[in-house]
Structures are given as C-alpha cells and as structure tokens.
C-alpha cells in the first residue's frame, strides 16, 4: 500500500542552522512526491515537487529511490520558515499525505 512517513511531529532549530525534514515513502512504482507547507493563518500550499528539481525559498528535496526518501532540506533556516510541513505522494486519484512536521525556527 502507498504510504508516507514523517517521523518527526515537531522539529526546532535555531535561525541560521541547517534544517532537514524527513520523509519516507512506500510505493512500488515511480512516485510523484511533493512537499506542502501551511504557514500560520494561511492555507495549505505547494512548496515543491520532485519532478521540478527546483529550489523554493531555499528549500530543496531530492528523491532517493534506494532509501525511498524525499527529505526536505535548507542550509540556513529563517524565522519565516516556521510552519507545518507535509510530505505527499501522488498516485492514481489520490494524494497521500504524511502526518506532518511542525518546524519552529528559534530566533
């Protein structure tokens, strides 16, 4: 079955420190993977998707098929990065979300 695991419910880092939000998936085919973000008092929105291989707001995520991971990384965290982050796997008519990680960047 398709599944997305985000092992950390909460993650706190200091401003300027590197941050990595972990995401592992289980899927037998070629996955479509996404990171969505929800800032305080804003709607959930797409941050990035793996096929674009882009960097958004300094964040990158590399698909590692061997480890079935799609970790989200940023070399220097900013206070405005504090938010709820969801990893998601696209398959058929569904988008399977992980349970989310709340990132807090400490000034």
């Amino acid at each position: 079955a398709q599944r997305v695991t985000q092992p950390e419910k909460l993650l706190s880092v200091f401003k300027g420190a590197p941050v990595e939000l972990k995401c592992n998936y289980s899927y037998s085919g070629s996955p479509e993977l996404f990171w969505y973000v929800q800032y305080s008092r804003q709607r959930l929105q797409l941050l990035l998707r793996h096929i674009s291989r882009e960097s958004i707001k300094g964040f990158t995520a590399d698909l590692n098929k061997g480890e079935t991971s799609f970790h989200l990384k940023k070399p220097f965290a900013q206070e405005e990065d504090s938010a709820m982050y969801y990893c998601a796997l696209g398959w058929a008519n569904n988008l399977f979300f992980g349970t989310g990680t709340r990132l807090t960047v400490i000034p």
Binding site: E32, F96, F97
Partner: protein, 113 residues
C-alpha cells in the same frame, strides 16, 4: 481573486444533525477533493471528483457523501454527524488528477457535540 472558497469557516453541530460543507472554485479545475485534517493523522482523503458528474471514495468515506453537479461546486454532506467527525475539513482542486499540485481552501473547522 481566483481560488477556492469554503463555507462556513467554522461550525458547531449537534450529533445526529445533517450538515453540508460548501466548496466553490473558479479556476475551472477538473478535479476536486475533500480532506480532513486531524492531529497526528495528517490529511486524509474523504472523497474526490475527477470531473463534473463523477465522484469517488477516498481513504475515509464513511459517513460522508459528495456531489459534483458542475465544475465549480463540490459540497460535502454529513447525513447524521457523529463526534468522531470533529475535524478541520479542506477542499482542494487541481487541473488534473493524481500527480497535479493541489490548490487548497482555507478550511472549515467542524465540532460535533
């Protein structure tokens, strides 16, 4: 402003009552979705619609029904609400199904007492 509108923003509902959550989009997206967001469980798909006139069941469809009479509207109905349906409900749309990015509404916070 283009996007998805959900109503109401929040609602307190007595158990056993019927409730319809409204969702309207003006982006002419084919696909629409209803998710519920619960602490520790993330977002789970309730129902979806690939195009007007069609609907499908998601991960947690029991106790909910949807209709898609036209492209823009995708209401979610709780026929007889139960306390376990207390949640935040998000409507979303995309221009294709499956691997397309989703555009989300602001959510409806529903409390069933």
């Amino acid at each position: 402003i283009a996007g998805i509108t959900q109503a109401p923003t929040s609602q307190i509902l007595a158990a056993g009552r019927r409730m319809t959550l409204r969702c309207t989009q003006d982006m002419r997206h084919n696909a629409m979705y209803w998710y519920r967001q619960d602490l520790g469980l993330g977002l789970r798909l309730i129902h979806y619609s690939n195009t007007a006139g069609t609907t499908g069941k998601g991960e947690v469809p029991d106790g909910y029904s949807v209709s898609r009479a036209n492209t823009d509207d995708f209401p979610l109905t709780l026929a007889s609400a139960v306390p376990s349906q207390t949640s935040v409900y998000f409507c979303a749309s995309s221009d294709r199904t499956g691997d397309s990015p989703l555009h989300f509404g602001n959510g409806t916070r529903l409390t069933v007492t």
